[in-house]
Amino acid sequence: MPNYFSKSPEALLVGLARKGNRDAFAELVNRRQIWIRNLMRHCCGDVTLADDLAQQVFLQAWRAIPRLQKSSRFGAWLKTMAVNAWLQHLRKNDPLRHAAEQAEARDAREDTTGIAMDLDEALAQLSDDVRLCIVLSYHEGMTHDEIADLSGMPLGTVKSHIRRGTKRLRKQLSAYDDTQHEEVSQ
């Protein structure tokens, strides 16, 4: 992997990638991969599927990057692409098969432990729409309006999904309450 781009600003890398520079794009993937893979993992609850989807997102980004108008919008543009990839995956796949895949993935999961695993399991209990709203709110720090814009759901639905999802997650992750309360209050 190239390391001469490691200290370059992202806008420069995006500009070079738009002109077809693969090393610059590789550095962008390197910088953004953890974020996108985490986002996808929280959305689907399956590490392997999340990595496949994240790979698709970056491949799609490579094909579409010459059309990206503003280099500074790269992060938001990539996030939109990731959410769309997830929504497209949901539309294409049968929810029952998806649930079975998730159950298998939970059994087979080896490379995530502790908080991430518990969080993924709790998120997997939520419906797809509720989970997406929760992930975009907590993982991405997006406002309700932004989530409504990105997902195409009405604002009221987004608000009720987040309220309901938060309640369910708090209930399922109640074991973390005491320890987290202490850390948050410090």
């Binding site: 893979r37 985490n38 790979q55 908080i115 991430a116 709110s137 997650l169 973390y176 987290q180 948050v184």
Partner: protein, 113 residues
């Protein structure tokens, strides 16, 4: 917008747990594969097109030669006088074709407009 601080802390803590495991290399190898595929598709399309062009160039040039010889042929024999030279653009196959084209165009517009 209010977020639950405990959940927020859990989400923040879970971010650090994803490991690199050659993800970037995999993406870049897919990028390379996709580039090769695009080149192969372009070659696959352009080769038959070039072959087709090479195949039809001869007959098309022959046809163009024939047309360019046919267009100035006079419709009526009016001799070699100055008037004949003056009327040559109108007294030709090209003029007849142009007139036919104009009539067809006018008729087409009358019927469909």
């Amino acid at each position: 917008m209010t977020t639950d601080p405990v959940l927020q802390a859990l989400f923040d803590d879970s971010k650090a747990e994803t490991i690199e495991n050659g993800f970037t290399e995999n993406v870049m190898s897919e990028v390379e594969k996709s580039r090769r595929k695009t080149i192969a598709v372009w070659i696959g399309i352009s080769l038959p097109v070039l072959l087709l062009l090479w195949w039809v160039t001869g007959p098309v040039l022959g046809l163009l030669d024939l047309v360019s010889e046919l267009l100035p042929v006079s419709l009526f024999d009016v001799g070699e006088s100055r008037i004949a030279q003056f009327l040559a653009p109108l007294n030709s196959v090209a003029a007849l074709l142009a007139a036919c084209g104009f009539v067809l165009y006018a008729g087409f517009r009358k019927i469909f407009s």
